[in-house]
């Protein structure tokens, strides 16, 4: 194990970003990914350990305006229990509901879930259908610089994102969904609690006069990164929600989902789950 020589728990964002400027700090938030990874030897701490939990302004959910902003260190428990979020973006709250266990939800952060970049990260499909972006900050030219990246373009491969080592994810933002927006989330694992998703799926769309528009479908654990299911979306866009469009959408999953066999499930089973989940969520929406 590498020695941690410096432990930093700054209160201020600029202090944290300066400490990260050389790209050699290990960022620690809830530790629910980092601790098992270092414990198993999959990853090592660098000499500089940076706890971001105490930075002012990096937590909290602002849902009052046209844009919803969730700070990076916000816990899954906070998302799960946020009344305004339950109104505005129930699809995200639903995913928080099905996340791990009470103790893990109390520690796990939204930013950590995104930066860990697992294809099975449960907060990712709901945020993809909400059209979310991530705010990245770094210290450059003697000041804090930020950039906004659509979440869709954030993930590169398992564990890899476009975030530079000197960048901190500071917040997730998305436009307040329209009043006729519906969102649904499904995930599966062998038991309801403490389960890494075998497959996850989120649907987001507007429904007016019986027709679907702005359809977004996102899937987890069916490819190296969570993805938008473009073929499924195309099969639904502008269509009424009836047996024919549902069947076409379900058939289109074969174009989008390219799962693999691994210890958690076979590719065949994952493809099957995707079809079942999509049909379920579409029928759910149709039923309402």
């Amino acid at each position: 194990m590498n020695e941690i020589e410096q432990y930093l728990a700054p209160r201020r964002l600029d202090e944290a970003l300066q400490a990260m400027a050389n790209g050699d700090a290990t960022v620690l938030c809830g530790g629910t990914d980092l601790a098992p990874q270092t414990e198993s030897g999959a990853r090592q701490y660098t000499a500089k350990l940076l706890n971001i939990r105490r930075i002012d302004g990096l937590g909290g959910i602002a849902a009052e305006t046209d844009q919803v902003r969730i700070g990076a260190v916000t816990t899954i428990s906070e998302i799960r229990c946020h009344p305004a979020l339950a109104e505005i973006a129930p699809v995200l709250v639903e995913a928080a509901e099905h996340f791990a266990s009470e103790q893990i939800r109390n520690a796990a952060s939204l930013g950590g879930n995104l930066c860990n970049a697992s294809p099975a990260g449960d907060m990712i499909p709901p945020l993809l259908v909400l059209g979310a972006s991530v705010e990245l900050a770094c210290w450059r030219g003697g000041a804090v610089q930020t950039r906004l990246i659509p979440l869709e373009r954030f993930f590169v491969s398992p564990g890899k994102t476009v975030k530079l080592p000197e960048e901190l994810l500071t917040a997730v933002v998305f436009d307040r969904p329209a009043a006729d927006f519906v969102g649904k989330f499904r995930k599966s694992g062998p038991r309801p609690a403490l389960e890494i998703s075998t497959v996850s799926l989120a649907l987001g769309a507007r429904i007016a006069d019986g027709l679907l528009s702005n359809v977004r479908v996102a899937m987890g654990s069916v490819a190296p990164t969570p993805l938008r299911a473009r073929h499924v979306e195309a099969a639904l866009e502008g269509k009424p929600l009836d047996a024919a469009s549902i069947a076409a959408a379900v058939a289109a999953t074969a174009e989008d989902a390219k799962p693999i066999d691994d210890v958690r499930a076979s590719a065949w089973y994952r493809s099957h789950l995707v079809r079942v989940f999509l049909e379920e969520v579409l029928n759910d929406v149709r039923g309402n």
Binding site: A9, R11, T32, P36, E39, R54, A100, E102, Q103
Partner: protein, 172 residues
């Protein structure tokens, strides 16, 4: 180490931890988890070592009143935060209603999961004095037990909730 400062730590961290209401000075290697520091450096072996992967709940303690897993929490993160472990639950010889109920109703059998289960249940009852059985199951779904089959744990928490409510009523 004080909160919110930037400090060098060489090999070992020296800091004050607040455990069960007591301020304790302790020095440990910075990569040590709270679980390891509680057991190895403070001799508080009530908190159990299970999977060390966040999957079993045996190591659950309360930090600022919230149930968290001490195997995933670094001890250095705990500066200025109130830690509660199973050792702090009884008042002298007076057991906490949860401890009594777990003992009386078979909620504890081999006992390995019990400290984590009891601390998780305490956090629940502190916030929600009358949880439904469904809510108890859900709040404790991260605590794995190989012995009881869970039904006795749920019953123990329900019984303890009733005792806590009665005690509250008598006090007011």
């Amino acid at each position: 180490m004080s909160v919110g400062t930037v400090k060098e730590v060489q090999r070992r961290v020296h800091m004050t931890l607040q455990v069960n209401g007591e301020e304790i000075d302790v020095s440990f290697a910075p990569y040590k988890t709270l679980l390891e520091v509680l057991r190895e450096d403070l001799g508080l072996t009530g908190t159990k070592h299970g999977c060390e992967l966040g999957e079993c709940g045996a190591c659950a303690v309360l930090i600022d009143g919230e149930p968290l897993l001490s195997c995933l929490t670094l001890a250095v993160e705990c500066a200025g935060r109130a830690i509660e472990t199973i050792e702090g639950l009884a008042q002298g010889t007076q057991l906490h209603p949860l401890q009594e109920a777990f003992a009386d109703l078979g909620g504890s059998q081999c006992g390995y999961c019990t400290p984590g289960a009891v601390m998780t249940a305490k956090a629940l009852l502190d916030k929600e004095p009358s949880p439904t059985p469904q809510r108890i199951k859900e709040a404790m779904s991260g605590n794995i037990c190989r012995c009881t089959g869970y039904q006795q744990i749920v019953e123990s928490v329900e019984r303890a909730a009733g005792c806590c409510r009665n005690a509250e009523r008598e006090a007011t």
